[in-house]
């Protein structure tokens, strides 16, 4: 099956059949930080994936949003 990955964007070929959680484990990816998409559909970790399936593994982590419960020091002017 063709597996599309991000960060960096790349495609790898993986032999099926196997369950989504086994695919993640094989690629050393954590379940909690990824979604497995078969074709256009989101699937659970126990979904069986076969050769010929188009799979996307989408990372869910984003970062960099400034926090608004700022500490007062953030209001102190920069010297």
């Amino acid at each position: 099956m063709q597996v599309q990955l991000s960060h960096p964007a790349r495609t790898v070929e993986v032999k099926g059949p196997k369950r989504a959680k086994e695919l993640l484990r094989e690629l050393n990816l954590v379940v909690e930080a990824h979604l497995v998409i078969k074709g256009a559909d989101l699937v659970t970790e126990d979904e069986m994936l076969y050769d010929g399936d188009q799979i996307e593994i989408r990372p869910v982590i984003s970062g960099g949003s400034p926090h608004f419960p700022f500490h007062l020091s953030r209001f102190t002017s920069q010297k």
Partner: protein, 312 residues
Amino acid sequence: MNCTKCKTKAVIGLPRHNAAFCKGCFNGFVHDQVARAIKSEKMCEKEDRILVAVSGGKDSLALWDILLKLGYRADALYVNLGIGTYSEQSHAKVTKFAEAVAASHGATLHLHTVEQEAGAGIKELAQLIHRPTCSTCGTIKRYQFNHVAIEQHYDVMATGHNLDDEAARLLGNVLHWQEEYLDKQGPSLPASVEGFAKKVKPLYRLSERELAAYALLNRIDYIVEECPMAKGSKVLLYKEVLNRLETESPGTKQMFYWGFLEKQSKKQPTVTTMTEKDRAVLHPCTSCSQPTTSEVCSYCKMMLRAKTVAPR
């Protein structure tokens, strides 16, 4: 795996809730979690006008979508930071959502472009004033969101911070024993002084994975790429560590953050204490009138320096 509620085929498993949901029941779960957050933390009322801080990412666009579907009067503000193609793409995603979804609810999108005001994008601006890019970005976004919320008379400002954001930030503060930061890590901050908008985080009960799934299932087109400026950020490392723990021991993140909130709520009357502390040290900036601890706020100083050195 079948849906815990309706027994049809599930699209997502939620180990921390020992549940799995189909699309319809998952949307119900997400909306319910946000409604519970708003009610339990007294974030806002149905008649309030809300300003959502949107970035083009999954969390903020999902938040705008959920608030509108729950029947709230929610407009949004997007700050274009001028980070090359990343900003162009995120701007396009926000505009697309505003036109395709938000407009039908009568919601408005406000825009602020850093380059127009500062004469440079965020990366160049940070270099000009010799400050880290993420710190410069934080100052600008916090200032602009508060500015628009106050100027346009919004009752409350909402950000898309989720359970993972809050747990990672708490871990960082605890690892460095920055106890003085903990008071302001709650999901609802009062408008403690004149010039400060009330700030809320209605997504604090939902994980990053749940919000990505919500965006995907509801065809919300968001920017999947990370901000190029955030590479190597400590927050990303803390999130990675917490996700490893969560995978091995489901419920770790919520036990950590929600447990902290429970302890804080028993410790002190947070709203009163926070308001008293803020009133003791904050006063209006002599240039823009937004609250600051010094004579001129850091945003005004930054803009002054940028305008002095930046070629127009």
